[in-house]
């Protein structure tokens, strides 16, 4: 089942085009990575899907309905954003009890175990929480809500490596038991590389990549070797980056690399090295810059 369907989605603020003709779908029971630099349009996209703002043009469906001011469709969504603001004079336990009434699939036991895992002080005023604790509270709500569509928009501010690992582990375990659609928007790409099934990469408002993470893995490679051999090998592949040191050239290539092609590279004295998802994303983003 399709959870979100966007077609030609465009959002303009005065003279700034935040999203430019973006089309994609989000399917049921999958974890997506929404990646891109600051200002690429990630938050705008999530605000559109969660009905917080309307599109300038294009179409958008959330669970088959129009999201804007649509309470029934929005009941199925939780959106955890960076530095969430909470009502004044609320304690942690008040926020949790509010969330319990807000989300139909809320799991109280799971929420309480997350509060313990993250050492959240239940009786503390939410505005007196540290950055990391505020983030941990957001993560707790996002997970325990078990909404059919869950957004985490950079939920990490102030969370240390241990707390982030805790988040990934709890997410994975709970997702396995209760599959749903999760969108992780993050700059810590390598940390989530093995968790996400599909990568959506935004660059200056354009969707430049919508790919299966596991397939992308074998598609982007660094090739190092003699200049002539590299030029021959690069033919028919997309060259994302090129560096030269004397007669030795290193290129980042996108294409298919089956066993026969690997053998061919070896014969040409070319060393093929895998590129991390983070590096692939950097290269794909930089490549667009040189296009202009």
């Amino acid at each position: 089942m399709t959870v979100v369907a966007a077609s030609g989605l465009t959002k303009r603020y005065r003279d700034v085009t935040a999203l430019d003709d973006v089309s994609f779908t989000l399917e049921e029971n999958a974890i997506y990575g929404l990646l891109g630099r600051n200002g690429a349009g990630k938050t705008t996209l999530m605000q559109l899907i969660t009905g917080q703002t309307g599109a300038t043009s294009g179409s958008l469906e959330l669970f088959g309905e129009h999201p804007y001011e649509n309470e029934r469709a929005l009941m199925k969504v939780v959106f955890i954003k960076e530095s969430q603001k909470y009502p004044t004079a609320y304690k942690v336990k008040h926020v949790l009890s509010l969330a319990r009434h807000l989300f139909p699939n809320w799991d109280e036991d799971f929420a309480q175990s997350l509060v313990d895992d993250f050492n959240l002080p239940r009786k503390r005023d939410v505005r007196k929480l540290s950055r990391g604790m505020t983030s941990a509270l957001g993560v707790t709500i996002g997970l325990a809500a078990r909404a059919p569509l869950t957004f985490f928009d950079e939920p990490y501010l102030g969370l240390d490596a241990v707390a982030r690992q805790l988040f990934y582990d709890r997410l994975l375990a709970d997702y396995a038991e209760h599959p749903r659609t999760v969108v992780l928007s993050t700059h810590l790409i390598d940390e989530v590389a093995d968790l996400i099934e599909q990568v959506l990469l935004l660059d200056r408002g354009k969707l430049v990549l919508d790919a299966d993470t596991d397939e992308l893995r074998g598609e982007v490679m660094d090739a190092t070797g003699p200049a002539e051999a590299i030029d021959e090998f690069a033919t028919g592949r997309q060259v994302l980056h090129r560096e030269q040191l004397g007669g030795v050239v290193r290129v980042t290539l996108r294409g298919s690399f089956d066993n026969a092609e690997r053998m061919r590279a070896k014969k040409l004295s070319i060393d093929l090295q895998p590129v991390s998802l983070q590096q692939a994303v950097v290269r794909l983003t930089m490549e667009r810059k040189t296009d202009r």
């Binding site: 582990d169 396995a176 038991e177 996400i196 893995r217 074998g218 090295q273 895998p274």
Partner: protein, 119 residues
């Protein structure tokens, strides 16, 4: 999971290795998709893809409501297949590197024998 091949292929290969070295005996249950996902910290769908590849190959089979099991004869099938790959995956690069260094066939044979003795 750290090499460049798709993770599902690596998962399938890890299970294959356990079957070949006898850690996973024939007719025993293999870890579930969720157990594999949690252990390797990967997406459950990816783990499932690796398992399904082995099911398609007849290495694993499903017992309804219980889980996945290693098929009888799986070990021999895998060993046979690995033997076929041995020449291209190991012998070829070995010979290529030997040529590059000017090591002749006789010298290479001797080296292999010496290594065998040292084991």
């Amino acid at each position: 999971m750290d090499d460049d091949r798709p993770i599902f292929v690596q998962i399938a290969e890890l299970i294959e290795n356990s079957i070949i070295d006898g850690t996973l005996a024939e007719e025993t249950q293999v870890p579930s998709t969720n157990e594999l996902a949690a252990f390797h910290r990967i997406n459950p769908a990816t783990a499932a893809k690796g398992i399904n590849r082995l099911v398609d190959d007849g290495i694993l089979y499903k017992r309804r409501g219980i889980g996945m099991f290693v098929a009888t004869g799986a070990r021999e099938t895998l060993r046979e297949r690995r033997r076929l790959d041995f020449a291209t995956q190991y012998v070829r690069p070995l010979v290529d590197e030997a040529r590059k260094l000017g090591i002749g066939t006789e010298e290479l044979k001797k080296l292999i024998e010496t290594w065998e003795e040292q084991r």
